[in-house]
Amino acid sequence: MRISKRIVLAAAAALAVTMGGAQAQDMMKLKIGTEGAYPPFNNLEADGSLVGFDIDIAKALCEEMKADCEFVTQDWDGIIPALQAGKFDAIIASMSITEERMEKVDFTNKYYNTPPALAAPKDTDIAGVTKEDLAGKVVGAQGSTTHSNYAEATYTDSEVKLYPTADEYKLDINSGRVDAVVDDVIVLQDWLATDDGACCKIVGTITPVVEIHGPGAGIAIRKGEDELREKFNAAIDAIRANGKYKEINDKYFDFDAYGS
């Protein structure tokens, strides 16, 4: 009895090994880095699961590339060093393609491009999004982002406060420490629709500056991994063509986030 059980177990193990081996051959293993604090693009839910546009797109791309993907969450500030250190193989975290970042990592083509915007409390006296409108005000943004770069470069007559994640500037605009915040319009709209964001409204969208904002959000990979980049680019084109992108897009937005 015991012996036969052992044989069955050994056979099962052998089978699992051979099957696993066969799977590994045609399934590319990929680790995807994301931030998990940037709803509705990527967010870590209370139960520990990752949800959002970036996550769904990443899953669709992995399916398209026949890759076995695993998600890793990582603080924004350290996300590029972690990629370089090999903690994961690609960053799918709404990372804008910029010159500065391109010195350290390679990017795929964009997978979406939405404009930045400025939000402020509902009773604000801020009328527009120009430097003059914000003079003397406190402007908040997430640090190490295109939005913080834009705020620091544009609102030179204002105090610019930089936060580690979007969650913290949301707390501070609620408490009144900052008068306005700059971020992606989608992120702001998503937040304004919640109870937390009931305080505030969009003052206006900001026309993207190519030198600062770049062509949109892309997937960052380590330098020189051209094969992987081409695979991602082909997968982005494929899900754009086969309607998968539109399906995900419509789940989150009422317009095409891919941009023109």
């Binding site: 500065e100 936060y163 580690p164 913290e168 707390l171 501070d172 408490s175 420490r177």
Partner: protein, 276 residues
């Protein structure tokens, strides 16, 4: 005469024992050599990657960050020292309730992370901005620097109180009794007899606490106070160059080294009557 004296001293000293290469001595030297090598490599790296553009562009940021770190730590240490005195006395009090209160304070602030305290005071109290406005305290709490200062002061007061209480307890009871026999008032005894002796004991732990505070202060960047570490992170986000952190480390090292020297001097001064 001189010859004789010389001879005598030569005879009196036993010959130095031969220094053998024991395992301990070998490994000790090996480890020190390794440290020296790492230090040299570190300096060599900084020297070889010396980039005038980097220094010119980001130097002022480091300088302003250094000023924020030093001013924040210094002011909260002084405020914490003042606050620690009543807490330490409470800790030593014979009254059970006062003792428990002081103990609870120290227990809370030593037992929870400084990061959580900073976060709670800045973002936590920020939730009650309307209530704080109505009692006129919002002006203080609105400013991130003030919140950092308050959190550090409360935190370091707990540690300093414990150091001080321990040091005061270490002074023999006979000192109190002697002073009392001489008819000296209690407060005078405490100030002139007990405290100076206690401070000798407390000096090294105090030095440790200050060094820990300097390094602990690196977390204030999460509440948007751009101290030395915050500036280093900012520079890193622009350059993605690890040099940014290396320079921050060098500046922290310099501050701690200066402090170490000051401390050595204070100790020499406080204990000069003990030198034989």
């Amino acid at each position: 005469m001189t010859d004789m004296a010389l001879n005598r001293t030569a005879v009196e000293r036993p010959p130095a024992p031969p220094r053998r290469w024991t395992a301990g001595r070998f490994w000790g030297n090996a480890v020190v050599a390794l440290w020296v090598l790492i230090g040299v490599g570190f300096v060599w790296y900084l020297a070889s990657s010396w980039n005038p553009e980097f220094v010119e562009k980001y130097g002022p940021r480091y300088w302003s960050g250094l000023k924020v770190t030093v001013s924040l730590v210094l002011s909260s240490l002084v405020a914490g020292a003042l606050l620690s005195l009543p807490i330490a006395l409470g800790r030593l009090s014979k009254n059970r309730y006062i003792g428990a209160l002081a103990y609870a304070y120290i227990y809370t602030f030593r037992g929870t992370p400084l990061l959580a305290q900073v976060f709670l005071i800045y973002y936590g109290l920020g939730q009650f901005s309307n209530e704080l406005k109505s009692i006129g305290l919002w002006g203080f709490f609105r400013d991130a620097w003030n919140c950092g200062f308050l959190a550090f002061t409360l935190n370091t007061a707990a540690y300093q109180a414990e150091i001080l209480a321990g040091a005061i307890k270490s002074v023999p009871k006979g000192q109190w009794e002697g002073a009392s026999a001489l008819g000296l008032p209690k407060l005078f005894t405490f100030r002139k007899i007990i405290l100076p002796q206690a401070l000798i004991v407390a000096l090294r732990p105090y030095g440790n606490e200050i060094i820990l505070m300097i390094k602990g202060s690196a977390i204030v960047a999460i509440i948007t106070v751009y101290d030395l570490m915050g500036q280093a992170r900012w520079v890193f986000s622009k350059t993605f160059d690890f040099q940014a952190y290396l320079w921050a480390a060098v500046f922290y090292l310099i501050v701690v080294e200066i402090l170490r020297n000051i401390w050595a001097w204070i100790e020499a001064r406080l204990t000069r009557h003990l030198i034989r």
